[in-house]
Subunit: 217 residues, 2 copies
């Protein structure tokens, strides 16, 4: 599959690297077509990787991942353009984290989630919130953890959610998805970051994830 | 141990019942000394149970549990009185849930947690946030779940946190505590309710809890 990634930070580069290792082609998008960090990434990953503007990356991808920092997500998507994003499955990996008062962060959103704001700003795009609930090196290697863990997912478009689940299953081995329903479910998964950032100390590593345990499994 | 419980809803009654079954004495507190629901509970639980006002229950308990609905927590604690609560370990089980716009709820707090507001209003009380992250019938029977699960805990007083952990371990069998540090950790565990209330549908039951999975366990 051809995948576009918006953002050249650690999250975008790690996901891109792992998607290429799983046999996909990835275009890393940034504000400029010749971003130095993206060029270094392309040199590293070899044939499956390319770089371009945000718009280039979105046009390239059958699936597009928003890996921008939350505070820059809407501006970056506006720079990408509604035309390039129309009809696309857009996986929103970003979180509305505000570190201006230090760590742990607050959320800069009120009741509404960032994912809902993105869906409202780009009504022709099929936004799926996923992967925002865990560290980027765990996103791409769920099998590194001692047990299978859970990945919440939500979005208004059922087919788009299925595309994302299939992609994450086949690329990285994710098996346990928790479908929270429409995109407003992101109010829950973005708020989880308020707990996640506080669990870091208690758990002793960022390499963890949650597993929901019921009576029967 | 003598335990005071503030609130005569399902959470308070279930916890009280289970503490009595574990050998403790429990006084259930409400606005009036002769609350009908509390009287029925006393008749049900037998010798270990008693009822009284909020102030009676707080005075009775070595440990006091706030099992009031979040919206009534501060008013109920003010009715209890700072004198009765002075020096006590107060387990804040409440959550700042606002159902006025339906289900799932929003939080009526802003950045600050309800537990921090309670600690600030009662500086001589040793507030510990715990048990607010799961359903009341799971609080008292962690062994009903298929695996051991985690219970986050936080508070400014380390000794008070230890008292609560020992009580929950000995009474109900809780073993895995995640100490999030000071009471501000409640910003994380109260926000978890935004995810918890959305997980209900995906998980298919309220009888679940989270287990943190790392690489080694």
């Amino acid at each position: 599959m051809d995948i576009g990634i918006l953002g050249t930070g650690d999250v975008g580069k790690q996901l891109g690297r792992a998607f290429i290792a799983a046999g996909h082609r990835v275009r890393l998008g940034s504000r400029t077509a010749d971003h130095a960090g993206a060029a270094a990434w392309v040199a590293e990953v070899g044939a499956g990787g390319s770089q371009g503007t945000f718009t280039d990356a979105a046009a390239f991808g059958e699936v597009v991942l928003n890996c921008l920092p939350g505070q820059h997500a809407l501006a970056g998507l506006r720079a990408t353009g509604a035309d390039a994003l129309a009809g696309k499955v857009l996986v929103d990996v970003s979180n509305p984290l505000d570190f201006s008062q230090g760590f742990p962060p607050r959320l800069f959103t009120e009741d509404e989630s960032l994912a809902e704001q993105i869906q409202a700003a780009f009504p022709d795009t099929r936004v799926v919130k996923a992967l925002n609930t865990l560290a980027h090196d765990v996103m791409v290697a769920p099998g590194d953890l001692a047990q299978a863990t859970d990945i919440p997912i939500c979005g208004d478009d059922a087919e788009a959610k299925q595309v994302v689940q299939d992609l994450l299953r086949e690329s990285f081995g994710w098996e346990r998805f928790l479908d929270l329903g429409p995109i407003s479910g992101a109010r829950g998964t973005e708020a989880w970051l308020l707990l996640w950032t506080r669990l870091l100390g208690a758990v002793g590593t960022h390499r963890f994830n949650l597993r929901i345990v019921r009576e029967d499994a």
